[in-house]
Symmetry: C2
Subunit: 437 residues, 2 copies
Amino acid sequence: MTVTTFSQNFKINSKELVETIHSTADQFGAKGVWGPEPTQTGVCRLALSDIDKQVKDWFIEETTKLGCTIKIDECGNIFATYPGKNNNAAATGMGSHLDTQPTGGRYDGIYGVLSGLQVLRTLKANNFVPNFPITLVDWCNEEGARFPMSLMASSVWAGVKTKEEIYALKDIYDNKTTVYEELKRIKYLGDVECSYKANPLHAHFEIHIEQGPVLEKYGKKIGVLTGAQAYNWLNINIKGMSQHTGTTPMEFRRDALLATANIIVGINEVAKKFKGLASIAKLSLLPDVVNVIPGDVDFVLDIRHETDEGLVNIRKGCLEVIETACLNKAGNGVKLEYTIEDPYPYPATHFNKKLVEIIDEAAINIVGEDLKHKMVSGAGHDSCATNLVIPTAMIFVPSKDGVSHNPCEHTEPEELEAGFRVLLEAILSYDHYRLSE
Amino acid sequence: MTVTTFSQNFKINSKELVETIHSTADQFGAKGVWGPEPTQTGVCRLALSDIDKQVKDWFIEETTKLGCTIKIDECGNIFATYPGKNNNAAATGMGSHLDTQPTGGRYDGIYGVLSGLQVLRTLKANNFVPNFPITLVDWCNEEGARFPMSLMASSVWAGVKTKEEIYALKDIYDNKTTVYEELKRIKYLGDVECSYKANPLHAHFEIHIEQGPVLEKYGKKIGVLTGAQAYNWLNINIKGMSQHTGTTPMEFRRDALLATANIIVGINEVAKKFKGLASIAKLSLLPDVVNVIPGDVDFVLDIRHETDEGLVNIRKGCLEVIETACLNKAGNGVKLEYTIEDPYPYPATHFNKKLVEIIDEAAINIVGEDLKHKMVSGAGHDSCATNLVIPTAMIFVPSKDGVSHNPCEHTEPEELEAGFRVLLEAILSYDHYRLSE
């Protein structure tokens, strides 16, 4: 049986994508050598830095060459629009981000924008005019590494943050510098209103590295995302009693770290029981001295689940674990006091069913049924913001060892190319689907 | 039945001891207010500081007034000798230290020296000439808080450290300053050889606050010490894998903190099983970020036992716990690597049986059988050094809530007075016993 795909008659140069990933990494922020090959470094490209300006300039130059029109909005988002037959309709969107973590790799975000660029290059090389315009977006400051708000400018576009809020954000390395000043300084304070109403997209497709080990462990090549997890971060403090480790018998102790250890063990069981995630990864002790029993432990409990109901169950299970650990185990009959800061959770994201179906079909056509995997995103992405206001869906490619936010973040060239092929197919398929809407 | 004690006919002014504790605290380093009363502060009197010099000068002045002769040795120890009938024999020693932790209280060490001073004042006030001379020692830098070696100058005196080693120690707050320079600067670089051979004592008695909760919990007033615990500090590193908490399913994690949590729980059980102590109180995570699974955990395992054999058992049990935790639980089938720095342990201290018997009898005579308690010291003391070379034993008084190395370290005045009474009785008893040797 021959499968008919929208991209089957296209000349495709997917190697050009991999070359572009490496050449832009080399030019714009290469840092963190992890192997002997010249491509074996990470990238440090903090949002609104000089290097971010340089890659933004390059992005505009490349997309302009392809015949795109450029809009820069008042939050530094860049919209490069490839014309279609019907330019009065809102464009089909693709996008991700070109900024990185300080210890970033070559793929996180970058791969999504450059795959979108490769889609546009492919249309151009094939002299293909889509039914509707196609807009490639470089969303500004997805990482929140320098200016501490992740999904920064996509959140303003989606109406859940205001431009005033983000303008006032301060550089964590230099608290005299704000987003507003830096946007102005690097000349990316555009005049287009940052809003899905004033500057709409018809849909948003995003391809991204997984940043987790699931595809690799299951031997899959394409993740078809149905959504992103609900999550919450709870700040917890346990109070014990600081006493000399040498002079305080075990039966007279109130050890806040022992309570915390029981909690760490317990929340891991809760997460498994409810098929979600629970992690304690940031923790501090007072006084943190070899021979003084910890009198005070602070930690953050990170809980996640595919569903909002699942998150409620995990939260409940973890709170029971905390209560039990403080009640019974570590205080030798004296209950340890604890406090919990328990903010409102981030709800689960559910991507648009039609877009998920289009991506799923594209994945089957490109890599086959056996190599694609339906999953949810563990991390947040610009698509979580766009999904609030327009049809959105995402594609994942494998991350070697699940490593990300690390220079040695890696995805094999053939996996990068297969992902791009799925994105191209999905974009063409959606462009065709829009005719019937 | 009337009990005959050696001190029964003495005029005793034990309130003077408590007054001296407070007046010297007020004059020499009061710091850290913890209550509304003027006596409710701690003391910060770092070894070889200006304040330490001032209290040393005061100590010499007070003991000289009582008719003592003074020797200052080349490590800053001060020996104040009250004459006896037979001044050719080595003196009976009593001593402790006048230096404190930066967040010290009014009693740790200080109580021992000032109780010794009160013994000498009592002999003087009663015109009592002992059979043998009695030397009160202010041991230099017991705490090791500023110059990082605890039991510093008593260890040189006992021959287990050299004066060259301690002269070279650097101020942890200012690495340009050494012990040698500070001894010289404050004029306590004496000319007497720092050695139990050149400047002998016949025995060493030390009274100290417990710094733990045992006497208080058991409702006892006097601890009769039979020795001090064996102990060891093991530096342990556990390697997991840093991965995103949101993207890494529980079953694919290698969580170094989960392994550590299982270890903390396990070593607590081991300690209880072998009736010793095991504590983890200093711990650091890498990267210590909310949403990154800890890839690396460093911690110190502090183990202690009354006997060397007990310490061997605890060490063995803890090593099994570590192996099991890294093998089975946290790596989802992948063994976590770990390293252990396992120095040679400090062996158990066993005090001189005769001195322990003398203190025990003195305690029975002063507070009664029911209020004295045989125990071992959890912390190190100058007596652990002197015990290596001369008959040594110690007396403890209760510490409120077991708190020490803290400004609010507290012992009730009547407990301080009772302790002094036991020391006086023991010194007189030993002076009498020496006639029969």
